[in-house]
């Protein structure tokens, strides 16, 4: 019971870090454009990172379970939430350069650089989950499933960026 509570607290803390870090980055990355863009950034970036993590977690567990993997639901949740928290911590720190670049580089290139930073951080988060799974799993089938999940997660991220970019705009862009 105690372990469950601690795990729940840890999950909440990771989730809060995920939302806060990505929201601050989103606001900073759109600061050079308009207040409206900053508001959009405040929800678009969490939607990308926290939403992406939420969408990628069920397939991660499912693929592991069907391929004879060892990781439980709690382990899967802990793995993705830890990775989300780490990525958001990096984003929180990157907010300072993002603010600087957004204010001084009001060009398409500026948005491209900030988007690239988000993609790299997101990909690093996915790679961290993959590495953890590869270390934890014992069978080739489970490891193969983890690699397949990695490819899926990358494609999911690309899809999310595309959708969010079309509907709300990324970091002040159209």
């Amino acid at each position: 019971m105690t372990a469950t509570i601690l795990s729940g607290r840890s999950l909440s803390r990771d989730l809060a870090t995920g939302i806060l870090g990505s929201a601050v980055f989103g606001v900073a990355a759109a600061a050079g454009h308009s207040p409206r863009s900053m508001l959009q950034g405040a929800w678009v970036a969490p939607a990308l990172f926290v939403g992406g993590a939420a969408l990628a977690t069920p397939p991660l567990y499912l693929l592991g379970a069907l391929s004879g993997g060892r990781t439980s639901v709690a382990g899967t949740l802990a793995s993705t939430s830890r990775s989300l928290a780490a990525a958001s911590t990096a984003l929180l720190g990157l907010s300072a350069p993002a603010l600087y670049l957004s204010v001084t580089m009001r060009t398409d290139t500026g948005q491209g650089v900030l988007l690239l930073a988000s993609v790299v951080v997101g990909a690093a988060g996915i790679a961290a989950v993959l590495r953890e799974r590869l270390q934890a799993e014992r069978t080739d089938a489970a490891r193969l499933a983890a690699v397949a999940w990695c490819a899926f997660a990358l494609m999911l991220g690309a899809r999310l960026i595309s959708s969010l970019g079309r509907t709300a705009g990324m970091f002040g862009g159209a």
């Binding site: 990096a90 720190g93 990157l94 300072a96 670049l101």
Partner: protein, 278 residues
């Protein structure tokens, strides 16, 4: 006992040497930054970090200022002063913007390094960058007499690349000894510093200015970015000129075209004479 007594005079001169050179701790620190980065990193682990930070800041101000002054001599006059001020601003300003990102990246990647040590290591790397630039400044000065604008721009860029490489090795060494994904963190540090530094250099331009330029501003107004300018440069190098933005190539070497990466806006008709590279 007698043997111990016999050894005493041997130790005395060493102590005398240290006493005769009160500035040695600062000089030793600076020498270690260049010659023995591992020893410099060990020194950072010790107490009394503040005097070391002061020494590093002074090193950056003087060494980068010297390199900037040499770059400024290509045009001469007030540009020498401008560049001497702007070069330390470039290094320290970039570091200031990047340190929060460095701390968070190190934490996210599980590198066991405190924010204080992140700041100290990256400040040391900046000092190494500045010292390499200062060491190469006589080479730049020598070549300024032989090469034209484009040649000096290339030499300056090469010096900056060499300085960047030297400082990167210190960062990698400092992070890899802390465990975790130290190398990846180092790679991220270098990437973030490069992008922010490139933009800061763009904001603080002009650095290299043609000698016949009459008026040189301290900084230009905010327009475009370095990366877009590099694209224009590459197109121009391939012979594709954008007439609205780039001046046409001139026949005389004395009127050679502006570096496209430093294209001026139409509001600046004297663009060929006011080009520069960051």
């Amino acid at each position: 006992m007698q043997q111990v007594v016999d050894k005493l005079p041997l130790a005395a001169p060493e102590e005398a040497d240290h006493d005769a050179d009160p500035a040695s701790p600062a000089l030793t620190l600076i020498e270690n930054v260049i010659r023995a980065p591992w020893r410099f990193l060990e020194e950072l682990d010790g107490p009394d970090l503040l005097p070391k930070v002061r020494t590093l800041l002074a090193t950056i101000a003087i060494a980068a200022g010297a390199f900037g002054a040499v770059v400024g001599t290509f045009r001469g006059g007030v540009q020498v002063l401008y560049c001497a001020v702007k070069m330390p601003m470039l290094l320290l300003g970039t570091l200031l913007v990047c340190v929060p990102a460095f701390v968070s990246i190190a934490r996210a990647l599980g590198v066991a390094i405190s924010p204080r040590d992140v700041a100290a290591v990256t400040l040391g790397a900046c000092a190494r960058y500045a010292l390499v630039l200062a060491g190469l400044s006589p080479v730049v000065w020598l070549l300024e007499g032989w090469l034209g604008y484009h040649g000096v721009a290339l030499v300056t860029t090469a010096c900056c690349a060499l300085g960047g490489l030297a400082s990167s090795t210190l960062i990698f060494r400092g992070l890899s000894r802390r465990g975790g994904a130290g190398r990846w963190a180092g790679l991220a540090f270098v990437a973030v510093y490069s992008v922010v530094g490139a933009q800061t250099a763009w904001l603080l331009r002009p650095f290299l200015v043609r000698p016949r330029t009459e008026h040189v501003p301290f900084v230009r107004h905010l327009e475009g970015d370095l990366f877009g300018s590099v694209g224009v440069t590459m197109r121009s190098a391939a012979g594709v000129y954008e007439r609205d933005r780039d001046p046409a190539p001139a026949a005389s070497p004395a009127l050679e075209p502006a570096l496209p990466m430093t294209t001026a806006s139409p509001a600046e008709p004297q663009a060929p004479a006011q080009t520069e590279t960051p």
